[in-house]
Symmetry: C2
Subunit: 241 residues, 2 copies
DNA sequence: GGGGCGAGAGTGGCATGCGACACGTCACCG
DNA sequence: CGGTGACGTGTCGCATGCCACTCTCGCCCC
């Protein structure tokens, strides 16, 4: 486990370390760990570790088991289904709204994130790629003006990352991902809120299908994944005035 | 062997107490409190109190201020806007999906909650009314099969409760609220997913408008509230295949 | 009399002490 | 030989100790 050198609050450092360790799989899904042990490895006392774990537990990444330890929860197929159903409900409307609200700084930041993604894709740097992917989405969500939405969706991504980072390459090239984001960015720049929302919708939907199909394949053995999960609750007729 | 009392963990009890205290206004919005003080009042040590407050802080109800105390956050107009924008995005699709997935127990529970609401409305029992209102919505959200969605929306309600419980009576009678839920329930029983979703949408929208108008009135002084907030991000043209 | 300052009280954050409980081990009994 | 129960180890949950920092208020110097 990585030791953080900097001088932010101990709690925040521990939280970041633990979150990273869970995401990268350094703390294996399903495994059990003691607070004391984690604290020793991080070079701090049990208290900040416990407090950070409480936050992760609220997010659903770990679970306390009394007198046994802390269980690292695994991301099931159903978890992926839940996460992407929510992202499909929230991100397209958020983008639609963000288009009319983005200020200069945010647009610049968006372009910057996209440029970093392109560069990382060229360099085949998966980690940097997903890092900026996340920040790209976060800028958009924040621009929608709803902090709770932004925080919630950002938290949802954690559940996917530890499945996604290591495996996305198998089914979709980094260039494809960049292309989907380019489409979104172009439509935003053109002021086409509706188009951008639709592009985001397709992007999330595409990502969901790939990850879920792949995950189902991993669970059931290779080559026979025939799952068809109804992710998209918005497909029914419109409930509008 | 059964353990009837099933004494919940101290932490859970403290969490419930603090949440209730914040919602009822016993801990006034904007006020500052020390962990030590709260712990003494609850008859426990600082640790479980601090841990419960950390959870409330993650939910946005309180904020730690180093070396000063714990601030009880107030629900601003913008907070209400955020909460209801999210509920409008999430609850109608959840209901649409729930209609086709409700099992017998859940339908029975739904009818039971509604009956309690009717009874509480007749008895003019505001508190019981809102209690069952919340559980009515929760049953529906859980029936949609997405635990994250249910937990998230349920958490959002906390932000509204402390404004809503004490003030809803001024603008809308309990009977009106019951009527809106009756409409939803009837359409669910009839298997009309689309109609139920629309009814839920109108219900949430109606609630939002009343609460926000009233809150704006309270902020700006009585009689001149002329706010028009764009809650409804779904009103734009449909992003569909 | 006015202004600056310093000492004290109070606080959150981190470290540590302590008790009750879960689980694996192993000796002992049937 | 198989089952069983007591013990030891390890763990969380809760209580408490300690420290650096903030804020207040009264005192002292000018």
């Amino acid at each position: 486990m990585k030791q953080l050198p900097e001088t932010a609050s101990v709690n925040a450092q521990v939280l970041a370390s633990l979150r990273a360790a869970v995401i990268t799989g350094e703390l294996a899904p399903g495994s059990l760990h003691s607070v004391q042990n984690l604290a020793t490895q991080l070079g701090v006392s049990r208290t900040p570790v416990r407090e950070a774990l409480i936050k992760l537990a609220q997010q659903g990444m770990v679970r306390f088991e009394r007198n046994r330890g802390v269980r690292i929860l695994l991301t099931s197929l159903h978890d992926l289904e839940e996460v992407f159903a929510l992202r499909l409900l929230l991100e397209p409307p958020a983008v639609r709204r963000a288009v009319t609200r983005l200020d200069g700084n945010q647009k610049r930041e968006l372009r910057r994130m996209f440029a970093h993604m392109e560069k990382a894709a060229k360099a085949d740097d998966e980690f940097t790629m997903f890092e900026h992917d996340r920040r790209f989405h976060r800028v958009l969500l924040e621009a929608a003006g709803n902090a709770r939405l932004a925080a919630f969706v950002d938290g949802l991504r954690d559940m996917v990352l530890r499945r996604g980072v290591s495996t996305a390459r198998e089914s979709r090239s980094l260039d494809d991902i960049v292309a989907e984001h380019r489409a979104i960015l172009d439509l935003i720049e053109a002021g086409d809120a509706e188009g951008a929302a639709k592009a985001m919708r397709e992007h999330v939907r595409h990502t969901a299908e790939l990850l879920i199909a792949q995950e189902a394949g991993a669970d059931l053995g290779p080559g026979l994944a025939a799952v068809d999960i109804d992710l998209d609750w918005t497909l029914a007729a419109r409930d509008q005035d």
